[in-house]
């Protein structure tokens, strides 16, 4: 089946089978909410979960991944990602996500340990075993996906799509030119964007519009189950940091990468040729989009631009409702 980059809307037109996906993230509050959403959807079948170092150290994000999986009752393998970006030292975002990387509500302890193999190996194993091509949903730095593509180039054809949170065509956040996930491991991001695999990029252009307001936290809490109250607590913690920067709500960045797979009609975007800057004084980690078509290169990413905020909040409310 030929899949152009922007026709992710047709993912489900052809099949009633759940779409196999791999969740790869650095939880992180918005990763956690993205996973709450993914786990709640019958259209998605989660094959495995992999952790990556980003928002916090690999030990902490892996532990958090285990705790989230216990909370959500996700019984799939979890593998620990690389301890640092491919060719660089880590950068963490403890100012945003706290000392644990997932500060806020109390969480259950992980039900089981991570598997012995690395994240890239577990991804490769899932890709090999899957009859259908798989969608990877990276919501942290692209270290593990970059490693997978370096180590197993022959498995590219088993990756149907990469729906990632990262980058920004018109803005950065961690530096004026770069978004955190891409800044942390620009070399891995370059490998991903040059891979030829269809990419949906949920960058800051859209994710800074995926705002959940304080009144929405209450709506989520009122759903009344345990997961709902935990998600409301995460949102409150996550909002606290953003409030100090003047945001009217919490931008739930990572959940947009999942939303693109299940509710593409509430998103708008544009096919662009995107390159990743790996060097520079100011631009390391910038995702450069060829908006004015000056490169002559064909697009390699569907870059999301806008979201129906109300529908997004409804989707999150619906997601927590799934948990009882």
């Amino acid at each position: 089946m030929v899949e152009t980059r922007s026709n992710i809307q047709t993912f489900y037109a052809s099949t009633s089978q759940p779409l196999p996906i791999i969740l790869d993230g650095d939880p992180g509050h918005d990763d956690a909410i993205a996973w709450v959403l993914a786990r709640s959807r019958p259209e998605l079948r989660i094959l495995c979960v992999t952790s990556v170092c980003g928002n916090q150290t690999i030990e902490k994000t892996t532990y958090n991944a285990g705790r989230i999986m216990a909370l959500l009752g996700m019984d799939v393998p979890l593998a620990m990602g690389l301890p640092k970006p491919l060719f660089r030292d880590p950068i963490i975002a403890d100012t945003v996500h706290g000392k644990t990387g997932l500060d806020g509500p109390e969480l259950p302890e992980p039900m089981k340990s991570p598997v012995a193999c690395s994240a890239a190996e577990l991804m490769a194993q899932c890709l090999k075993e899957s009859d259908e091509p798989v969608v990877i949903v990276p919501t942290g730095p692209l270290t593990n996906v970059g490693a997978l593509l370096l180590l197993y180039p022959e498995l590219k054809s088993k990756i149907r799509h990469i729906s990632l949170m990262g980058g920004g065509i018109a803005r950065g956040n961690w530096t004026p030119a770069a978004e955190f996930n891409i800044l942390v491991d620009p070399d891995a991001a370059k490998i991903v964007f040059e891979s030829g695999i269809p990419i949906t990029m949920a960058g800051l252009d859209v994710t800074e519009r995926a705002l959940v307001y304080p009144e929405d936290f209450e709506r989520i809490r009122r759903v009344g189950n345990h997961v709902a109250s935990v998600v409301a607590g995460w949102l409150e913690f996550f909002y606290h940091f953003h409030q100090s920067l003047g945001y009217p709500g919490a931008p739930v960045h990572d959940a947009v990468a999942v939303t693109a797979l299940i509710r593409p009609e509430i998103l708008t975007g544009e096919d662009l040729y995107v390159q990743v800057e790996t060097k520079g004084v100011f631009c390391r980690g910038a995702t450069v989009g060829d908006l004015n078509k000056v490169s002559g290169k064909p697009p390699n990413a569907y870059c999301l631009k806008d979201i129906n905020r109300n529908a997004f909040v409804d989707l999150l409310v619906e997601a927590v409702t799934y948990y009882g």
Partner: protein, 323 residues
């Protein structure tokens, strides 16, 4: 013309204006417009290598000013190449001679003996309220800042055409003037002088359609006919890139310097990437990022009232039929 309200009751003193340019078809339009502005006293124009080489931009500058009837304006010779990079010019847009192939009569005036950077410095020392409009690569301005360290304190208003907060026209993220000499541009943005950046964010909206350019030609003056003819090649080029007409990048910067009311601008920090693998020449702004730069006194021009812009072009160009 007889409307009494149009005449200022007390003669307002014109503000001294220095233009640095790489003439260039849209530079030529800016010069033709500046030559007729009452609010400005055009005290000097410097040429720099950019759209085409200096051996063309210098005579083009002299000859366009002569066409404008302004042989009273001194012209200075600037840098023949960017600070540390070779010159990559844009004859595919501006034509081999920089004026879309139109040959102008040679000006009777020659360039002044002092170089552009000395002339800019002298002008700033002489006129406290000097306005600098720089619409080419920023090599001359950077050289002035490098040579005269007290110059930033004397130059309080600089409007440039260059850069872009988002997008590019030469590479996906760079604009021609800045990518031609990124080091010079960073010297200027890092000089401590607040810069108004009239870049592609606004200048891609500051265009005349082909029809409007036809109307301009109908004014019938040599200046209007020159404007029409010199811009045909650039018009074809820009239309081929999907633009709605011919962008008058440089007049937009000049008009901002004259009257901000037709524009929207936002304060920002701006620096220029000089060492990227694909981003050298990108004007990095902190407009929408959480992380802000330490110096945030620059302004990024983002929007324009195109009707007012077009009217201003026509008003100024009509003045050539009044004499």
């Amino acid at each position: 013309m007889t409307d009494i309200k149009m005449k200022p009751s007390a003669e307002k003193r014109s503000i001294p204006l220095f233009i640095d340019c790489d003439t260039g078809v849209d530079d030529a339009m800016a010069l033709l417009c500046a030559a007729k502005m009452k609010s400005f006293d055009l005290i000097g124009v410097a040429a720099v290598a950019g759209n085409v080489a200096l051996d063309k931009t210098l005579p083009n500058t002299l000859n366009v000013l002569a066409l404008a009837g302004r042989t009273d304006v001194p012209v200075y010779k600037g840098a023949y190449k960017p600070l540390v990079r070779p010159l990559v010019s844009a004859p595919h847009v501006h034509g081999l001679n920089g004026l879309g192939g139109v040959e102008l009569d040679s000006s009777p005036r020659k360039e002044e003996p002092e170089p552009a950077w000395d002339a800019l410095y002298n002008a700033a020392m002489e006129h406290e309220d000097l306005v600098l409009v720089a619409v080419g690569p920023l090599t001359n301005v950077a050289k002035a800042f490098i040579k005269y360290r007290e110059l930033p304190k004397r130059l309080s208003k600089i409007v440039i055409m260059g850069g872009a907060a988002v997008g590019g026209n030469t590479t996906p993220c760079t604009e021609f003037n800045i990518v031609t000499d990124p080091e010079a541009a960073d010297v200027v943005f890092n000089s401590g002088v607040p810069i108004v950046m009239c870049g592609l964010d606004v200048t891609l909206k500051a265009y005349l359609t082909g029809t409007e350019l036809d109307e301009l030609a109908k004014l019938g003056t040599p200046q209007a006919i020159f404007s029409y003819q010199s811009q045909q090649n650039a018009l074809r080029y820009e239309m081929s890139k999907g633009l709605p007409g011919i962008c008058l990048h440089d007049p937009a910067a000049l008009f901002f310097a004259e009257d901000e009311t037709m524009f929207t601008a936002r304060k920002a920090g701006i620096r220029v990437e000089t060492r990227g693998s694909i981003t050298s020449g990108k004007t990095v702004t902190d407009l929408d990022s959480d992380k802000k730069m330490s110096y945030r006194e620059h302004r990024v021009v983002l929007d324009i009232n195109r009707d007012a812009f077009r009217e201003r072009i026509f008003t100024l160009m009509r003045k050539y039929s009044e004499t």
